[in-house]
Symmetry: C2
Subunit: 233 residues, 2 copies
């Protein structure tokens, strides 16, 4: 809480706006997010919000970035307690953190992973970095295991040219030299992880699916860890 009183007040109001925005995401969904409603809950006239946020889309971007960072923080916190060489345990920790956060903030999770919001496109320059924190953690786990010679590398050979180019970009972006075959498996584990979480959070398993147990998800995590080639405990 540094800066002048005015700056502190401004920061506090900013936090209030994102807090209220998150609440509205939960209550009414992203598409119904409205500056006027946020202003109402902020106890202020609607036009006043424009002192803090340029437009409705900018508020959405704010919430997207905020959401990615909260998810990233949750994952980082879970990983902080794990020994570096417990590769499988680290993967499981990431999975549990993602699922835990998704259940805690289903509306924000849906904003990030539940399909595009009509008429809104997240600006890359603000969302790419926070949006890649989880996958970056996953790549880190795979890279560590690979460096230790403990990652099973599938005999898939090289990817086709179109994919190679993309993989090269991925390697460059995340500063790794994992081979194509590992990255392919990594993408599956990553997409599969979020697929499982999404199905559970979005209710695809039906109304009868037990909400009190992690048993299914824990099994899924083990299989996904196998797919990635991580050594068994």
């Amino acid at each position: 809480m540094a800066g002048t009183p005015r700056e502190r007040a401004r920061a506090r109001t900013m936090q209030e706006i994102t807090r209220i925005g998150r609440q509205h995401l939960t209550d009414y969904g992203a598409a119904a997010l409205s500056l006027r409603a946020v202003a109402r809950d902020l106890g202020v006239v609607s036009s006043a919000v424009y002192r803090y946020v340029r437009s409705r889309d900018e508020l959405l971007t704010l919430l997207v970035v905020d959401g990615y960072n909260e998810l990233g923080d949750a994952v980082d916190a879970a990983l902080a307690e794990m020994p570096r060489d417990a590769y499988r345990a680290r993967f499981v920790a990431v999975g549990r953190a993602v699922r835990g956060w998704a259940f805690a903030e289903p509306a924000t999770y849906a904003l990030l992973f539940g399909g595009p919001v009509p008429g809104y496109r997240a600006p890359d320059d603000q969302t790419v970095v926070p949006g890649t924190r989880v996958v970056s953690s996953l790549i880190g786990i795979g890279a560590d295991a690979h460096r230790a010679g403990l990652l099973a590398v599938p005999p898939d050979g090289e990817a086709p040219p179109a994919l190679r180019t993309w993989f090269d970009g991925v390697r460059h972006q995340f500063g790794t030299d994992l081979p194509d075959a590992v990255l392919t498996r990594g993408v599956l584990s990553w997409a599969g992880l979020f697929g499982c979480v999404s199905f559970e959070v979005f209710g695809q398993y039906g109304a009868d699916f037990p909400s009190r147990t992690d048993a299914m998800f824990e099994q899924q995590l083990q299989v996904l860890a196998d797919d990635l080639g991580l050594p068994r405990g």
Copy 2:
């Protein structure tokens, strides 16, 4: 096209309404779906639509059911050409059909498998049956392979009690006797399949991901088929 002229006209208008609704899903998203806009495109005054559809939510339900059925039809059509004992090929065919349809109808796909539409809950009595067609196909493939003694059953043992109850319900609903361990893998393959499709359709792989190639998805399908325990070609 049976029935009286009036009935035929009514059916035609109904089809027009769902067609326009689908188009609006594509153009503006589910949350922005509006009876007035549909009426406009139908060339009719807004109140006239109420002769065909009780409310906006009922139109949404119509589109949900229609979407599930179109997806189900696409999967069935793909499966129709496959020999019954080509278990892995059948699984791959389902996957390709799902992905193909998702790319052809991304907005409807998002309606079905993206996050929930705020303020709308699909009525179970109308959506459960069409909504389970794909998973029903998958279970059929697993059951056939299991009956032929060609499905690898993982040594996971029995599921915990909470899940057992749910599995019992699944077995009853889909008329199968597959053991817990197989169903667990089946759920992973199912959720993983849709996770991969969702990531690709929703653009989670980033703007640079090549849109012209199936190579990544084909690899993913093979791993998911392995996870399910299907025999290699």
